[in-house]
């Protein structure tokens, strides 16, 4: 089986994490989202995987290489401009000569879904699309079914008007004919794969595969905390020999700890925490429901709750991200009552005794002075001082 994974998506709602890495490379439970997908592909029996990459493609290439570590042959094609999912898929045309699976690189799914979509395609020779049921279908492409076929796909952002609870789960099986169909599609200067599928339905069957398993989407920053929490291995309390945890520190079983991490005396790593490689947690620091990316330094006495800490960020002593439920405004939309302490970008430096109010998003390279109180949205490279 061959697969094409669309991994060029920018994921602007996850700013600032997506400035330095494509969305599929955001880690959950210490592995990039895309790695969870690549593992599922391997488990489903894929042999060749083509990754469609775009901005920050180096992050993807450096992580996956030629696929040797995943028992897969991985190659890359570049989507220079973001002109839709169909356009992204079209970049892989030269790499696939036969039927293939296509899927999004930013939704975590199980290998079973891949196998079922593929099997249905092999049985019927038709285009196959997976659908799943979610609580808020209006956030995705809503799919109406006609028996076991897809009847319509439409974007319906108004929750009251959605005609079905099924959404497009983002896993497809295509024959190479799809490329010609994409080229015939024009969605206002772009090429959206769903438009191509809608056009196809006029004269051929598009089969649906209904899926009830794990389907995790990291759309808004707080989703990352939830998805991270759901993927932490609750049984495994071991860490690699390169990690040092002082005897007086507490590390919950429901936490994921990377390589070369140091946890100083009296620190508490409570459930729902992921610490990336080479992270240092200072004496007495307390972390709960937090994702800390690699190379970050958490100094003594810091309290980090319900938050995401970017790579190589430094948190000063006794600084608090208080966490809890709050209303957040993101890209002009208001999200009510979400559990979200904050998102700090990469290479941020926060001094001692600062307080980060719930829902704060801090851009990359920002410098926050000691004893500052910060809230809302702080730009990249900003400097905030007390007063």
């Amino acid at each position: 089986m061959q697969a094409v994974v669309l991994a060029a998506g920018k994921g602007r709602r996850l700013w600032p994490l997506t400035e330095n890495r494509p969305k599929p490379m955001i880690p959950v439970a210490n592995r990039p989202i895309l790695e969870h997908i690549v593992d599922a592909l391997d488990a489903a029996g894929a042999e060749r995987v083509v990754l469609v990459v775009g901005s920050n493609q180096e992050r993807v290439q450096s992580h996956f290489g030629n696929g040797h570590d995943y028992d897969l042959e991985i190659s890359y094609v570049v989507q220079q401009q973001q002109l839709g999912t169909g356009h992204a898929l079209l970049q892989a045309e030269s790499q696939v000569g036969e039927s293939f699976i296509a899927l999004n690189g930013d939704r975590i799914i199980e290998s079973e879904l891949l196998e079922r979509v593929w099997d249905r395609h092999v049985e019927t020779d038709d285009t196959v699309m997976s659908v799943t049921r979610v609580d808020e279908p209006s956030r995705y492409g809503v799919v109406e079914l006609d028996g076991r076929d897809v009847a319509t796909i439409e974007e319906q952002p108004i929750p009251e008007l959605t005609k079905s609870d099924f959404i497009n789960a983002g896993v497809y099986a295509f024959s190479p004919d799809i490329f010609a169909a994409i080229r015939r599609t024009d969605s206002r200067g772009e090429q959206a794969l769903t438009d191509t599928l809608s056009n196809l339905m006029a004269d051929q069957r598009v089969r649906a595969v209904q899926y009830r398993g794990t389907w995790l989407d990291v759309s808004e920053p707080w989703d990352l905390l939830e998805v991270n929490d759901s993927l932490i291995d609750r049984e495994d309390s071991t860490y690699t020999p390169s990690t040092t945890v002082d005897d007086s520190a507490v590390v919950a079983t429901a936490a994921t700890i990377g390589d070369d991490v140091t946890v100083h005396p009296q620190a508490a790593i409570l459930p729902g925490v992921t610490l990336g490689d080479n992270v240092s947690v200072g004496p007495g620091a307390v972390l709960e429901n937090a994702v800390v990316l690699s190379d970050a330094t958490i100094n003594a006495g810091a309290v980090l709750t319900d938050c995401i800490i970017g790579a190589n960020t430094t948190i000063g002593p006794n600084t608090t991200v208080e966490g809890g439920r709050t209303d957040v405004v993101l890209n002009d939309a208001v999200y009510h009552d979400v559990t979200f302490g904050g998102l700090l970008g990469d290479n941020v430096s926060i001094g001692g005794n600062a307080t980060v109010e719930p829902g704060t998003i801090i851009g990359n390279h920002a410098t926050i002075g000691s004893a500052s109180l910060v809230s809302g949205r702080i730009d990249d490279n900003a400097t905030v001082t007390r007063g």
């Binding site: 180096e58 080479n278 690699s294 290479n347």
Partner: protein, 600 residues
Amino acid sequence: MCGIAGYIGPGDAGSIVHQGLQNLEYRGYDSVGIALASDDVTVSKTEGEVNELTVPQTENPSTGIGHTRWSTHGEPTTKNAHPHTDCTGDVAVVHNGIIENYDDLKSELRESHIFESDTDTEVIPHLIETHLADDVSLLTAVQRTTQELEGSYAIAVTAAGHDGVVVVREDSPLLLGHSDDATYIGSDATAFIEHTDRVTYLESGDLAHLTDDDVTIYNDGEEVERDTETLDWDADAAGKGGYDHYMLKEIHEQPPALRQAISGRINELATSVDLDVDLPEAYLQSVEEIQIIACGTSYHAGLYAAELLEEHADVRVSVEIASEYTFNGGRDPWRTLVLAITQSGETADTLSALREAKRSGARTLALTNTLGSTVTREADDTVFIRAGPEIGVAATKTFVSQVATVTLLTVYLGQVRDSISTENASELLSSVRDLPGAVQQVLDQEQAIKETAQAYADSDSFFYIGRDAGHPVALESALKLKEISYDHAEGFPAGELKHGPLALVTPNTPVIALLTEQTRPEKTLNNVKEVKSRGAPVIGVSSDPATTSHVDTTFDIPQCGPMEPVVANVALQLFAYYIANEKDRSIDKPRNLAKSVTVE
């Protein structure tokens, strides 16, 4: 320098050897050839790169040997390419290294043999031919031949009508790979890593007879056993993983390579380092001088190490270019530690200096990237930099990993010698720990560096200046640029500029100034003003906006304490890469250069 690949097994010997040579091309690439043997021997060779070679067409060859060459004796031409054959054309030999007495041998042989090339190698097949005339086995003929050869060599021989391949290792690297049904030969494991990770390192003086189903190794006439080891390199070594060049891939691999270099070696809680060094502590405490021997980029890492060791381990350090090394000056060998730095562990100049040090009675420590390499067997102890395979001829990730590892070594020696305060140790260790994140931050600015590189690509010359730890980084950054872009580039201690090189500075010679921590930027700024008043554009590399107000272009790098100059080097690696790329140079295989220099 030169690569050997070979295969004995049921597979398609021609294409397996050809692929092996392609993998080895970084060792040399001016001419190439393959010999396949069945009932007779068919040779095909050409000048140029491996992909220009047509694999000889033979029905079911049982064995194949091949060679990619980096010329030492004789021009890079088709006739000088290996394999070389005897007068009958039945014996084919590939060779890496130098036969020192080839002149004498050649004049003796000339009476009854016809030579076709200018190489030292060609005497070998003719000698073998002479011995085979006594109706002995190929093994015996090769054995007798090696008794007549002087020099360093790794050879592989195949002959019509004789079973298998005979290989010999005398100093020059050679190892065997074993899969279930075949045996591979390589100058290093990259030759066959996609087929097997089970290898046998041959030792100097070993002669091995490889047949379809057996490998027998002899040393000094006696049959010997050599261990089979499993490599932990993966076959990714042979692939560019979507990058245009290995060099760019390796530049981007630096954050994980650095994490790997320090992994498990720093105990932050105890402020201590575990490098698994077995040299006795009492000896390390009594050492009065550390002599560092190295070449090229490793030499620059050695200069950096000297800055650190003198300051923190309270010991006199001299850094010697390995090919210039002699043990003299009234040194006490029992109070001298010799540190050999070599990425490949096979650098002939460094190995020869190491042997000189051992002969003089000094103890030796190696710093290398390559498990099982010659230096690891010859030095008293070894510290690995764990950077993973580096294929691009221009060293990048191995330089930063070398510096990170010698920094750990500095803290270790400083603590053993009780010369480093806990505060300084803790500062150095936390700076090393900060390196991967800081380097990633530089990589995230690739686009800005690329644009600057494009803007300056047409300059006449490039001068790099820095003080203290900025000096080795200036030298290393200049070396990178000249290696891959072929532009004239030099590094100088910043204060030295006005004592001569300033005469070369013009408005079309950009000056790149290291203005980071550990480089005394306030002093270097005086030199920046000197060159600016001669109209030269200045690129400053710094983490402190205050120091860069006098420069034309700034590469902003993150603060990283004492390791900041290493972070600056990463920005300048990208600068060199994009200048070379702008000029469409052969970045992974610069002209005249080879990765692993195994001749003196």
